[in-house]
Subunit: 279 residues, 2 copies
Amino acid sequence: MTIAIVGIGLIGGSMALALKESGYAQTIIGVDKQVEHVVKALELKLVDKMALLDDAINQSDLIILAVPVDGLLSLLPYVLDRIDKQIVIDVGSTKRPIVEAVKNHPNRRRFVATHPMAGTEYSGPEAAVQGLFTGKYNVICDAADSDSDAVATVKELYEAIGMKITELDSVSHDVHTAYISHISHICSFALALTTLEKEKEANRIFELASSGFASTVRLAKSSPETWIPIFRQNRENILDVLDEYINNLLKFKGLMLSDSYEKFQSYLKEANDIQRILE
Amino acid sequence: MTIAIVGIGLIGGSMALALKESGYAQTIIGVDKQVEHVVKALELKLVDKMALLDDAINQSDLIILAVPVDGLLSLLPYVLDRIDKQIVIDVGSTKRPIVEAVKNHPNRRRFVATHPMAGTEYSGPEAAVQGLFTGKYNVICDAADSDSDAVATVKELYEAIGMKITELDSVSHDVHTAYISHISHICSFALALTTLEKEKEANRIFELASSGFASTVRLAKSSPETWIPIFRQNRENILDVLDEYINNLLKFKGLMLSDSYEKFQSYLKEANDIQRILE
């Protein structure tokens, strides 16, 4: 199979590596509108060749759109306008606005909305890594709105790169990701700002930073170009979660102010229950 | 040298392993008031033998206090009452209340206040790991209040287990740790609570949890018995940082509510500066 990947960054580049490694794709054609990405993708041998978008569409059986979710809103209809029987998938972190953008498109059923739940805090072609998707979940959204042959092929593709498949409607997807992905990024960005502000007066502050701090703050290295469009598109859900998160912090603050450490301890014990979920 | 370690949990147990491995200690005597810890420490061969506190003090050249910081407030003067020329160190995550508790003690100068900046989210003797301290910073606080031979020995000890040494006054230490350790734990505990509450209505929510979420929330597995006393003793500093953190979150919320994504993006770019500090 010949696969075009539009956007050769962390996710697109890692998919290129995984699809080639698995043997699922014979040929990978890369597309990217940034010159540095084109040059780097070839230099790092992430793809077999780079091409312009229209040529890549014509030469491929399947097209993967791995661009920031704001760009997807116009890229997806553009690509659907130009396909025949090919399959198009996106890998964006929001789903409702994406499926909304093409709900009346005549080629809607050739599109499969997906979200491989994997990533790192790095970005660009240099961030592409082998094995990023192995053992992780891929979500297929609103599968009933896609042709069944397209959904079957997309499942094969994700299974070929070692992913487990689950299905959700796009509305639930966006609620779930607000809780278990988007809010983590907000927390980390805000924590980084808080400590960096303090650094202005205490310049040795990070000398002591422990691995726990590094773990909590690492997502703050993530690309704003990727994340602002996600926060924007999933605004309502994120605002809900953010309110709940701030309320929990205010609750902790109140318990400290009133020296209610027994009650505080009981909340921390509740929070410990997270070890049931994370190994 | 014969070293007594009081409290054979994550930190005490890992110090026992490191001190033995390095050859710095010939004999390690463990002390713990929990029967399960005594049994486990022997079973895991973390120490050469377990003893009761008074016997351990008599038989040791140096005594390491690795108990939760609330217990330290009474344990430290108790131990200082019973030493002759021995050196006593603590490894707690707060410093001002600890040094305050013994500031008028006749044996104050045999005590060196230290804080090895290392840990994991696990607790108890089973959490003890080889190499926990290698390459990390140890902070010695208020060194001028300790005998210089005691400080020199303590530096040797930490260097023997591969740590870099830095010095701070205890007041600055407690401000710094509020920013680069204590607040991370508050963030993680609150994030875990937020998502666990949501799980009650969406039971598959954690199926999709990515490595980014796991990283941000992992400190929420930490022991409340360790952390509540830290939050309590460092209350004022943590409340300050928590206010700044909540303000940053409220700023993000305001920017989303007013659709000010350019401004929001500029804050995320500022937060990216954290990569200057963390590899």
